[in-house]
Symmetry: C2
Subunit: 349 residues, 2 copies
């Protein structure tokens, strides 16, 4: 960071709103046949023929969702796209286009926004989505990013949150809790940095969990894998707020209960070791940590042989009749009610 101080910095006001969006998006290419018209008119034009269109929107706010003290802008741009694509994949759909709008204060030079858009561009390339619109405006304070993601699916492939039935198996992709533990490590390093700015942090023991926080990946591969396996989930949701919140969403919308088995929750060894180091319960982290952007879904028991042993998928419980409630079955075989303790963006603090 020290070398950056003498770099040229271009004031945003030199470009103006129209110049800015043109400048930031000029190297984005069109990748999707369904993109008829991208950036540069009043609206983008998309052509989905006879397939269903899916659309989602999320806001990321500085000081709430990210801290630029340890979140590089390039990673932030990437992550803002992932957060939204994850919602599209959670519909068992293909993500095809995004719009990105930013509100930014004048403390950001052009070069900072170029970094942000480099991350957005990288995400667009890897995930094969087109940037088709957006807005740039000023904010009194801080940076805010609004992403809308659009996708498509055949009507027969779409999966909602509402289709789970009693006895369905509850399945999660990847592993949980790493993004939250990565955040703990980064927060600690920030405090160390405040005391001694010359301290170079050694994060080599935490590479996986830090990367899960700074550069999460949306599970583009899962709708494809499920199709290959011949499995259509009965319900699906992405894990942005923590496992317990997402289970409650599925249970509520499907009118079912759930037994979640603590010993089946997939944890990376770095999550286990960092939980020990920070003296935090790893199950609590998996249940409430959030930001893992894995997919949680339910399948009919008949489909069990199709997913059995797949290294991407862990069966962590099963659905029950609604009146049996939602429970965590602990390692000691005790049933504890599951309550929403996911990240609450609107809590007083």
């Amino acid at each position: 960071m020290l070398e950056d101080k003498n770099q040229e910095r271009t004031s945003l006001s030199e470009l103006g709103e129209f110049g800015l969006i043109e400048h930031l998006t000029k190297n984005f290419t069109i990748k999707r046949e369904s993109t008829v018209k991208g950036i540069g008119d009043d609206a983008a034009v998309l052509d989905f023929k006879d397939r269903k269109t899916v659309v989602t929107n999320d806001l990321l706010v500085e000081g709430v969702h990210f801290d630029l003290a340890y979140m590089p802008l390039r990673h932030l741009g990437y992550k803002a796209v992932m957060v939204n694509l994850s919602d599209i994949y959670a519909m068992n759909a293909t993500a095809t286009q995004i719009t990105v709008s930013i509100a930014v204060s004048n403390r950001f030079p052009l070069e900072a926004l170029e970094e942000l858009y480099a991350g957005i561009s990288h995400a667009c390339e890897l995930y094969q989505v087109d940037l088709v619109g957006g807005d740039t405006t000023s904010s009194g304070k801080g940076l805010l990013i609004s992403v809308t993601a659009i996708g498509e699916a055949g009507a027969e492939d779409l999966v909602y949150r509402s289709g789970a039935k009693p006895n369905d198996l509850l399945v999660v992709t990847g592993d949980l809790g790493a993004a939250y533990m990565g955040l703990q490590v980064l927060e600690r390093e920030k405090e160390v940095f405040k005391v001694n700015p010359n301290n170079q942090p050694d994060l080599s023991m935490y590479t996986y969990i830090v990367e899960r926080q700074l550069k999460p990946e949306a599970r583009k591969d899962i709708p494809v894998l499920l199709k290959q396996l011949g499995v259509k989930p009965t319900s699906m949701i992405d894990i942005s707020d923590g496992l317990s919140s997402e289970i409650i969403h599925i249970c509520k919308q499907s009118a079912v209960g759930c037994n979640l088995h603590e010993d089946k929750i997939p944890l990376d060894p770095q999550v286990i070791s960092s939980c020990e180091e920070f003296d935090i319960n790893s199950t609590t982290v998996a249940l409430s940590g959030g930001e893992d952007y894995e997919l949680l879904f339910t399948i009919d028991q008949e489909d069990y042989p199709r997913i059995k042993g797949n290294p991407n998928l862990s069966i962590i419980g099963y659905m029950t009749p609604e009146n049996e409630g939602k429970h965590l079955i602990t390692r000691a075989n005790t049933a504890i009610p599951i309550t929403a303790r996911g990240w609450n963006a609107l809590k007083d603090d």
Copy 2:
């Protein structure tokens, strides 16, 4: 306002993020056949069959785009929708769905957001669009609204900014400058209020221009009217930043020049009288004021008989070859180059 002080105020943290969006949107009904699934899953599902989909997104930031000192929240919600629908109509398309995301600080009680959503709901009813998604999150400071609007059109009906040809007529709907002059009146009343909070403003002389600022209407009627008249514009854009900015956009994207006749610019009598009162040039206001949300379009000269005398439409100039430049022809018959002086959201101030 004085009577409001003892009203009950519900803290946002009592509801939490999920409760909040559910609470605010529970009275919204589905109006569009193309809305397969609205709020309540990871993404909305839309079905446009073989028609083209259009999509646009805009951010409104407190302190930049609106001032809650004189902008009632209900009007703000309405206006946030209009700003986006206007972009859809500027494609000669029909608006069908919106998503609304808000970032809000804890200083807003639930009742304030209910007012905001009452305005959004009113706009959805009048303009027959469905609210199909969104996100609520906290902001450190202030209120920010992000709206994505989605629409549809037949491929043959879509109008871009890029189709204007030399000799095409330049046409504008309604009248210009009123929203800007309404803002001047409101800013003045705010200063008066600061000095004497008991002063009751008399805005009866300014009803039209104040309403244009606080409760603008998008021109839903114009794509319908053009179809009835059998006219397809060669290019079209909505007037959000001011006439000069929008003319420059069309000229740049169509590679043409333009002669705009000052004496043809439509002005409401209240704009003329308030410009005299504030000692501002009314042409400057029309050129640079912005926020009128009228439509600016070009038509082939052959279509002139079809629009002639229509009270909704004013012919204000004609397009020229690109090398002839973009000029305002003044009342004194002098040609002045048109430069972008629209509202610049990123200027230093």
